[in-house]
């Protein structure tokens, strides 16, 4: 192992990232890039959707193509709470998260009976069912056009009211919630539960044979991932002050998968960097090149081909070479992509 040095570089990087994120709303406008504060906010929010894909695929080995369903439930949970109950930011966030969690519990109870490609298909199917339902039920959801609302209060006490319309309040509310989500994820994946996740990911048959309830473990992960996607959806609703059924389509799920893979699955912050890279790319390129998604698709294929562990894998590899130049090549990081015991043999054995 590359030992302490790598760990210190990692910790230093984390501190740097934290400081940079705290400085964003003060520094970027000064430099004349005020618009980019919103982009950073968007990255933070979407990265949670990618993180939910990562929690399932990178940590438990289930590739979901339907996380947009829970994103949508988070979005509508928050929006409807604001519109019908005049909820503030925190109540709305809670409502959205609970809606997504409940949906994930129901969908998950069925979906985690399946694995492999079948799991991916069923998650798409579930999200499509609710996508069509949301599109046609215009009175509740507003369909394609969606529902909009005005910025709710983040803080309302002692006669002082701060709403999301205040840019600083909005940015730091989002940053705080997103950071909390990553912190919780960080704790969970190191816990005994996280170890059980890893065992199920690596070898579900052996996991069963050491006494792990594989079904329940997968379900817990599915519900947690659903909650994360729900938080992401609720935050995005607050950020855009609206909700639309069009965000429940499976392309949104697919994009989240791409962000997670490009960033590096099985690592806590990989999805954040993957999301950041692709959203910044979109912002820079989409204005000059309408078909920039062609490059995104190409990048996706290339990453699977050459760097299936994503940015995080490349970073770890570089760090390993840097801190252990003479030792034998650093051991490959956990490879959640490698087919585990339940993976089918590739036809043709190529």
């Amino acid at each position: 192992m590359s030992g302490g040095a790598a760990a210190w570089i990692g910790r230093g990087g984390l501190a740097l990232l934290g400081a940079a994120l705290l400085a964003v709303p003060f520094v970027l406008p000064e430099l004349g890039y005020g618009f980019w504060v919103n982009i950073v906010t968007e990255i933070l929010i979407w990265s949670l959707l990618a993180a939910s894909v990562n929690l399932l695929f990178g940590y438990v080995g289930l590739l979901s193509f339907g996380q947009a369903l829970f994103f949508g439930f988070g979005m509508y949970g928050a929006t409807l709470a604001v519109i019908h109950w005049e909820a503030g930011f925190w109540t709305g966030l809670l409502a959205g998260t609970l809606a997504a969690t409940a949906m994930a519990a129901v969908a998950g109870a069925l979906a985690v009976r399946l694995t492999w490609h079948y799991f991916a298909i069923i998650t798409v199917v579930f999200s499509l069912i609710f996508y069509f339902a949301a599109m046609s039920n215009k009175t509740l959801t507003g369909g394609d056009d969606g529902l909009s609302f005005s910025a709710p209060a983040v803080f309302d006490m002692a006669g002082v009211t701060v709403t999301l319309a205040d840019p600083l309040a909005q940015y730091f509310s989002v940053l705080g919630v997103v950071a909390a989500c990553y912190a919780i994820m960080g704790v969970v994946v190191r816990s005994p539960l996280g170890l059980a996740f890893a065992a199920v990911r690596e070898n579900d048959r052996r996991a069963r044979l050491i006494g792990i309830d594989v079904y329940r473990t997968r379900l817990v992960a599915f519900v947690l991932a659903g909650a994360l996607a729900g938080v992401s959806g609720a935050l995005f609703a607050f950020f855009g002050r609206y909700a639309s059924a069009s965000y429940m389509v499976y392309h949104v799920s697919g994009e989240a998968v791409v962000w997670a893979i490009v960033g590096g699955i099985g690592t806590l912050l990989g999805p954040l960097f993957g999301t950041a890279l692709l959203i910044v790319f979109r912002e820079l390129v989409s204005t000059v090149w309408e078909n920039y998604l062609f490059a995104v698709g190409g990048l996706t294929v290339l990453v699977v081909m050459f760097a299936p562990l994503g940015l995080a894998g490349l970073w770890r590899g570089a760090l390993g070479r840097l801190t252990a130049p003479r030792a034998a090549p650093a051991e490959a990081p956990a490879d959640p992509v490698a087919p585990s015991a339940d993976a089918r043999a590739v036809p043709g054995g190529r």
């Binding site: 193509f65 490609h117 298909i121 798409v124 199917v125 697919g254 996706t300 294929v301 036809p347 054995g349």
Partner: protein, 286 residues
Amino acid sequence: MSDVVLALAINGLVWGLIIALIALGLSIIFGLLDIINVAHGDLFMVGTVGGLAVTVATGSFWLALVLVPVLGFVLGLVLERVVIRPTIRQAALTIVTTFGLSMMLQEAVRATYGAQPRRMAPPIEGTVPLFGIDYDVYRIAAALFAALALAGFFLFLQRTKLGTWIRAVRHDPETATALGIPVARICGITFALGTAMAALGGVIAAPITTVEFRTGVDILPFCFMAVVIGGLGNLQGTVAAAVLLAVMEGVVTSVSDPTVARIVSLAVMSGVLLFRPHGLFAGATR
């Protein structure tokens, strides 16, 4: 009223046969390469666009009907070699690869052909009376083309050496390798064949649908429904399910919202996936 139901049921049958053709392509790729090809709908879309482009360029739809599937086959060969084969080791990620491929195909078409939806004049004009309604001749012809292609495909699988090899590899790749069957090449040909079938479906469907870069997005879920409900790897089941689903959606659409029909189909699909993973038509054998 019942005329409407009948017309929609016949429409469903026509579409069902076309979808069956596309879904069959999806199914052989899944059965042989164990790939969830999310780009399959876009390959159909490329077929519609290619059909229109060739028809416009040469003035002959019939030439397009022959040429586009051949081009599709070549495209399939290239995609399999360049994109699929190098990534198939990441078995769990094939769905991600094909998702990336899907983006590339859509954007490539949008960049060259434009984002504007277009319509294509049917190569055969006119209507025929059918069960008391006037029905487009071309739609009937389209159903016939699709049915012929399906029959041809099954004959090919049963009667030719290549078809036998494909069935052998599907059944047991290891034994096939041991028997000296060039498994890697068969995989490439199968992918190309699946692509050609999607492209052929595209040309046939071009005159009765809108031609644009997003067409594949709508057709894909339907193909998956047919493949899953018919039983993964059960080719006849796929055809039956495609026709059944399309007729069912046609009929439900006549009495209610088309979205309701779609939701019902999807719910049936989830039920099959969860409780009858070998498909609705599979016997008790395992």
